[in-house]
Symmetry: C2
Subunit: 427 residues, 2 copies
């Protein structure tokens, strides 16, 4: 008991110190030039490639531990690094270096009748905490994105990937130091104790401005429920695809198969298919046949089951399930109106798509649904910062505060006003 | 005890119901046309003028109660309504009607190499809670701003202004109903029990998206510490005015007097004056003489007191005090660098101004200080949504998430992405 309390106090002190050092690093970082930040990024990419052997050796330790601990093949695959994946990390960092520096960007500018000239310019947010699980590459991606936006970052990876993350982190610090930036700009929490996460959720005495959880539902849920600082996250992606009666059948089939089956484990994968009853004859069976042929299990409402014998009956929970698997729930609806109301009831406000040629249906879908991403005649799997041209993302947010949708470098900034006058007094 | 628990349960149920009704109203409100919202605003303004007698009668009750309760003259002045102030509320609502509708505004648009066209468009935030104290006009201002941005609002005014706020609220509801909008779009909490505030801070079961506290330090502090939902607020405005050695002396005098003395009780009033030591001979005495002549008490560091005999010695707490009164703390600094570091230590990140002719000093001041509003050669008292051309503000925020500086209709919105394709599949 005494010992535990002692440990708890140690971790609180450790985390507090990490927070203070991050805040101290955020100052010089916020006014670092684009050139200096980009130099650091280039040096990080080079260090990753140069230290490939060390990273692979560290990863081998994590993999061996993971196998002993009986991690699932899916988790082991996420954990595994090879030369290709290390090169991918380096390329990702270089892509972030190539992005426009968001800091100092003038978002809006206007003049007042009294001659005051007002600009709203982007500034860094400050200190960002990233809490993630088994993917070691988050160490590189998140570190690079935060740096580009002038933020200090505190990375807390899972214990499974501790050795790999430490080796990658060393390369990030090498890049910072070679560019003359503070090493504390990218810190890694060196303990895997869950109490460290608890300290981050409390906000490190005001030294943490936002938390980004990257991982499974239970991690995100804990962070959303307990964090005393803002959180950029999505709990789940219950994404809908609606096929309107005006849809081109071939396009409907192709988009349905891609939205569901390209990768079933990502948050932008479609989980529910809504089909316009007025075109069920031409759309439903071809689409379900193609999905089934691609290996997808169909769970339909009574009408769907009556029309497509391979469908299993859906139960109520199927409309709120993020399968992250080759399963889709299917329902007939009376046009775009009922599609919108079904989505309003069941959606997680992540991503929804409509296939339609009727502009009025598309406009209603776009106006009346309040989800982060709405797509017309395109796969739901485009819900991704890279696909949006943001050069990377630290996550996807479904909240409505500050960041929504893919969280890229712009979303990792705040802003301030610069007002220029020539002696104006307020009357 | 039993009775208290019963009352607590009643208030929880009442507030929960208010939250549910606000969320239900937010749906139709989010897709209401600009014309419909502007019609509601015009009808609200007309109803305020038409019901002037009722509002004044209700206000007389509040004033009589306030006098009996021994409210200070300043509080009674905030509470008091007359024909001019009612006309001012109506004009304020009409000014908000004249603003561009932020909802549906395309903030950014770009095209991807694969032909996807991406737009980021503004959407309402949802349900906004406003907790305020004695000023009854907040009922009209906040109600109108939230409506313009397509949000439902829950208004919780103080008990001092309960009768006045109820009479004003009735006019707001009349406007909503005349325009065919849900009456629940602008709700007023009908009880003055503090437990109602507690329920709002807990977020009304997910039916409250953001809280805006308008009032004194203790209210804002409680809201910031206890709220489980985002808060747009500033705890205090410890605003600095720095006079650089390159400043024009006449401009420095005029801006110092206006920044401090135009109105001493507002958050944008200057509280600390920093004077460049290199120009102390030409700037310090003229500026302090003018401030003293305007009725301001001077609290200076040792050097200031040595140079200006009417100054009282400042103590440490003077650098972190928001006087909201005719008092200013004054310090000599070694140029813009020391000014920036003093501000970094003591500022509340609200508003800071520099008077200077040297562009390099201005650029450092603008780049290195992370406050919501930075001004060059202009009074700090311009820190105001109306003065920024926002047509009004629901408050000023010093946080870095979502809204910062004056919170106008644009800051009361979120955004979503609309992506248009012609059959794109993700490879």
């Amino acid at each position: 008991m005494m010992e535990n309390r002692q440990e708890g106090a140690d971790i609180a002190a450790l985390m507090n110190d990490i927070g203070k050092r991050a805040r101290a690093a955020a100052g010089p970082l916020s006014i670092a030039s684009s050139e200096q930040k980009n130099l650091a990024l280039a040096e990080m990419a080079a260090a990753l490639l140069r230290n490939e052997d060390k990273i692979l050796a560290a990863n081998a330790v994590d993999m061996a531990n993971g196998e002993r601990a009986g991690l699932s093949p899916a988790l082991l695959d996420r954990l595994k690094l090879d030369m290709g994946r290390i090169a991918g990390m380096a390329d990702g960092i270089r892509a972030i270096a190539a992005l426009k520096d968001p800091v100092g960007d003038v978002i809006a500018a206007w003049e007042r009748p009294n001659g005051l000239s007002i600009e709203r310019v982007r500034t860094p947010l400050g200190v960002i905490g990233v809490i993630y699980e088994s993917r070691p590459n988050v160490t590189a991606d998140a570190g690079a994105l935060c740096l580009k936006a002038g933020n200090a970052v505190i990375l807390r990876g899972g214990s499974d990937s501790a050795h790999s993350s430490a080796a990658i982190h060393a390369c990030m610090v090498e890049g910072l130091e070679k560019a003359g930036l503070p090493a504390d700009a990218i810190q890694r929490v060196p303990v895997t104790d869950r109490a460290a996460v608890g300290e981050m959720l409390k906000g490190l005495s005001g030294n943490l401005d936002v938390i980004v959880p990257r991982g499974g539902r239970s991690l995100v849920e804990r962070v959303q429920n307990e964090a005393r600082v803002p959180v950029f996250a999505h709990l789940e992606g219950i994404c809908h695809l609606y096929l309107d009666k005006s849809a081109k059948p071939d396009m409907a089939v192709a988009i349905a198969v891609n939205s569901k089956m390209r990768r079933t484990g990502i948050c932008g994968a479609a989980e529910t298919l809504l089909v316009d009853r007025a075109a069920a004859d031409v759309l439903l069976v071809p689409v379900l046949t193609a999905l089934e042929a691609a290996g997808c299990e169909i769970r339909g409402d009574a009408e769907v089951c009556a029309r497509f014998s391979a469908a299993r009956p859906a139960v109520d929970e199927d409309w709120s399930r993020e399968y992250l698997d080759a399963i889709i729930s299917v329902k007939l609806v009376d046009g775009v109106g009922e599609a919108i109301s079904h989505i309003g009831t069941w959606s997680s406000h992540h991503t929804e798509a409509i296939v339609a040629e009727d502009d009025a249906a598309v406009e209603r879908f776009f106006n009346e649904i309040d989800s982060a991403i709405l797509l017309h005649n395109a796969s739901t799997q485009f819900a991704d910062g890279g696909e949006f041209g943001m050069g990377g993302e630290i996550g996807i947010a479904t909240g409505k505060m500050h960041a929504r949708g893919p969280v890229g470098v712009e979303q990792l900034t705040s802003f301030k006003y610069r007002v220029r006058g020539n002696g104006q007094l307020r009357p």
